[in-house]
């Protein structure tokens, strides 16, 4: 059971971190209410249109590139866990893998998928 004590402490510390931060700021922050204060983005651009508006297809392209490269990273985790056993051969193979990914990124760059038009 003793190993759970650490987990419990960790959870409590994590909770405390959030609660204390919000609590203290609630106690000390200045109180003022006006129209700008209640905007969605307080000091950002004004909100326009509804949330169901159409987005530029450009967002899609970025999201797609992100999804593909993001998912490839899950191979790095098993490799990192057994890094010592795999040794140099594993390192070389991982470099080949990354190299192929970089080729893909290079292609995306060259074709202008990373540019905001």
């Amino acid at each position: 059971m003793s190993e759970w004590v650490g987990v419990a402490l960790f959870i409590m510390a994590g909770l405390a971190f959030g609660v204390v931060g919000i609590g203290v700021s609630f106690l000390v922050h200045p109180r003022s209410k006006n129209r700008y204060k209640l905007e969605t983005y307080e000091c950002g651009i004004p909100v326009e249109g509804s949330a169901w508006g159409r987005f530029k297809a450009q967002y899609f392209t970025f999201a797609l590139i992100f999804v593909i490269f993001d998912v490839e990273v899950i191979y790095l985790y098993p490799w990192a866990v057994s890094f010592v056993q795999l040794g140099l051969a594993g390192l070389v193979k991982m470099f080949i893998f990354i190299f192929i990914l970089v080729l893909g990124l290079w292609y995306a760059w060259k074709e202008g998928a990373l540019e905001w038009k």
Partner: protein
């Protein structure tokens, strides 16, 4: 283990998920819904693989490795699907399968 779980729970869950995905893939007419349904089917497969791995070969990670590969390939497939949807919607304002009738289905 000793948690009272047995493989049949997992097989039941994944079979239900797979059936829901299959139903969605066959009945939905929106391309994105169909893609989501296919993802659901793949999730069912992953549940199966990881559960079997746990119960059958706990010291070899065959099923888990297989699941990782499925996740990546599924991401590639969805990426390609969304790219095709963008290309189609640029030509024609639709993402409904019924409107794709230049070729007979």
């Amino acid at each position: 283990m000793g948690t009272g779980l047995n493989p049949s729970y997992f097989i039941g869950l994944s079979a239900a998920l797979f059936a829901i995905g299959m139903y969605g893939a066959l009945s939905k007419r929106n391309i994105i819904s169909v893609l989501i349904s296919i993802e659901l089917m793949l999730c069912a497969v992953n549940i199966n693989l990881v559960a079997f791995n746990k119960f059958l070969t706990p010291d070899a990670f065959l099923g888990q490795i297989f699941a990782i590969f499925i996740i990546t390939v599924a991401a590639a497939e969805v990426g390609l699907g969304l790219a095709l949807i963008i290309a189609i919607s640029r030509r024609r304002e639709t993402n409904n399968l019924d409107d794709l009738n230049w070729l007979r289905w």
